[in-house]
């Protein structure tokens, strides 16, 4: 049996082989057909050929710096599943091709699928190819096999902060679940398997937890209200849909700690989709996955969200991707979703500041069912 990728690569090879044999008249025919196909999809040629420049132009003039993100690769080892491994490698290539290079790359969590040491090592090895420095965040798929032991030995603390060009960055472990495994006598592998099922209702809800919240409050003690603050968390730090853990159970308490700051941005993983929210002074942005897109939750979708088009199941990379965050002098950010196989979508700071009234990105062509 041939996989989709194999069939695609074979088709591409035969196309290239055919192209090399074309005379001029036949070449014009092929080129015309390609342009026709592009028009039929409603893509204007200048946009489709220079997607990154379009994104740059949309972000305005006072951009201070930019960082890239890669998230939710869900790696098995390469011998088990080559597709997810290739997804992460493609994202690394994307980021390495950015010119100028981002100041750093955020990895948004769920590097592994079942938290096995060899999965995390595979991911660490691929991420070493990134030219820019990497900031790691932990996800539940990295954590619940050995409760973070291997992850911490590879990447260090799961809660940490740093300053960059006047912005205070905080990375939080927000996937702390109350112990549901001891009473049931689950093995580490069974515990991990339970957490790995998004719709598996026998697990607990995500929290930041008392210890991590105390750490956050202490970390922010010396930071002025006027300092722009960017928080990285794997789960969205608000309550969207509990059943799939698109949710943080102590979100209100975390938001209370962040309330005094003028400008706060939360960048989160876990949801594998375009997702935008704004609560008071806090802007929330989701990240894309390099492995698969999630459907939108059946309820609770924030009004600010510009939904991504329904992913095409026949294209294994559709709805996946990576992205960038352009931080401006005022601390607000433009969130850029670099979707593979689709034009990039920018959720601009103007859109966020105006509570969705200005600079809205185009609506999706195909909405969710």
């Amino acid at each position: 049996m041939k996989s989709v990728e194999t069939k695609y690569l074979e088709a591409r090879d035969s196309l290239f082989e055919g192209l090399s044999k074309l005379n001029r008249r036949e070449f014009m025919k092929v080129a015309g057909a390609a342009a026709g196909a592009a028009l039929a999809q409603g893509i204007l040629p200048p946009h489709s050929f220079t997607p990154v420049r379009v994104a740059n132009a949309a972000t305005g003039g006072d951009e201070a710096f930019r960082f890239a993100y890669i998230s939710d690769s869900h790696l098995y080892t390469k011998d088990v599943n080559d597709r997810f491994v290739r997804g992460l490698m493609r994202a690394v290539d994307d980021v390495n091709r950015m010119d100028p290079q981002p100041d750093f790359v955020l990895y948004g969590g769920d590097l592994a699928q079942l938290g096995r040491p060899e999965e995390l090592e595979t991911g660490a090895q691929i991420l070493k190819d990134l030219k820019a420095p990497v900031r790691m965040m932990v996800g539940e798929h990295d954590w619940y096999f050995d409760l973070g032991e291997k992850w911490r030995s590879l990447f260090g603390a799961d809660n940490y902060s740093f300053e960059h060009k006047g912005v205070h960055f905080v990375t939080l472990n927000s996937v702390v679940e109350a112990d549901f495994w001891t009473a049931k006598g689950l093995t580490p592998a069974e515990r991990m398997q339970t957490v790995a099922g998004l719709d598996n209702g026998s697990q607990s809800s995500f929290t930041v937890g008392d210890a991590n919240r105390a750490w956050l409050a202490k970390d922010l003690e010396g930071v002025k209200d006027s300092t722009p603050l960017v928080v990285f968390s794997h789960s969205p730090l608000y309550k969207l849909y509990k059943k799939w853990n698109f949710w943080t159970d102590d979100a209100e308490e975390v938001q209370k700690i962040l309330k005094r700051f003028d400008t706060v941005t939360v960048i989160h993983g876990h949801t594998h989709q375009l997702l935008t929210n704004r609560i008071g002074n806090i802007s929330f942005h989701g990240m894309l996955s390099t492995a698969w897109p999630w459907p939108y939750a059946p309820q609770g979708l924030p009004e600010m969200t510009i939904q991504m088009s329904r992913p095409d199941p026949f294209n294994p990379n559709d709805g996946c991707g990576d992205g960038q965050v352009a931080v401006h002098a005022d601390g607000m950010v433009d969130k850029i979703y670099d979707l593979w196989n689709r034009n990039p979508v920018t959720v601009s700071r103007t859109y966020m500041k105006s509570n969705g009234k200005e600079d809205r990105a185009p609506k999706p062509l195909l909405a969710s069912y």
Binding site: M1, S3, V4, Y76, V80, N81, D82, R83, Q113, T194, G197, L198, D199, N200, G201, S202, K243, W244, W292, P293, W294, P295, P298, R310, D312, P313, F314, P316, L366, S368, Y369
Partner: protein, 225 residues
């Protein structure tokens, strides 16, 4: 010893009836006790599980209960998956089957007699059990035969975005009209990377049952893009 003979056809009935003696003396046991010989054994109604019976064993209810317990223990050991339905329900939400209790007392023209509460309960239990079996396949790469550790729920939690109500429809990527099962097989071959299932494969039937059940309440709208 007095042995109560119950011929239970379905093994599943065993766990419900665990309190009763489900013993059947084998021909050799009957013959042995008649002759007072030393070799005898008691066989469970599955025809496989056995415990030896000493000829001088006391013929008391307590001794009989002990044999029954030992047979049950052995059967449970051989069938670790016996609570699969309850187990699956603790992990995944199953949309409930329709409640037909308003039909209790009605008749169906005489052919089947009056509908009883037990009829209604059986319809619901059996329908939901079929769906629970589907949930098990849907959530297991191993059951699907995935060669890359992928299961349906990894893209479709709670069967979201499977939109069974839109089939049959013209699937542009395939250039033909497809049924839900065709799309299930497409996913099994490609994202899941397993062998496609025959239309009457029990796993395919169970998957269809689960996917339709989860979309309960959505109006059918075949052909919807």
């Amino acid at each position: 010893m007095r042995v109560r003979v119950i011929r239970a056809g379905a093994l599943l009935a065993l766990s419900a009836l665990a309190g009763f003696w489900l013993l059947r003396g084998t021909r050799s046991a009957d013959a042995a006790s008649a002759r007072g010989s030393e070799s005898a054994e008691v066989t469970l109604c599955d025809g496989e599980t056995k415990v030896p019976l000493a000829a001088d064993a006391p013929k008391t209810p307590e001794a009989g209960q002990k044999i029954a317990d030992e047979l049950m223990r052995k059967w449970r050991e051989k069938n670790p998956d016996r609570d699969w339905e309850a187990e699956e329900r603790t992990h995944h939400t199953i949309a409930p089957a329709a409640d037909n209790s308003d039909l209790v007392g009605a008749t169906q023209g005489g052919t089947y007699g009056e509908i009883t509460a037990r009829d209604v309960a059986t319809w619901k239990t059996e329908s939901e059990r079929f769906v629970v079996a589907g949930s098990k396949v849907f959530h297991s790469g191993a059951e699907l035969g995935s060669t890359i550790g992928v299961s349906c729920d990894m893209c479709h939690p709670d069967a979201a975005n499977t939109h069974p109500e839109t089939y049959p429809k013209y699937q542009v990527q395939l250039g033909r009209v497809v049924l839900l099962r065709d799309m299930i097989n497409w996913c099994i071959e490609h994202p899941v990377r397993a062998q496609p299932l025959a239309a009457d494969d029990p796993r395919m039937r169970a998957l269809e049952a689960y996917i339709y059940a989860q979309r309960k309440g959505t109006p059918l709208n075949y052909g919807k893009r």
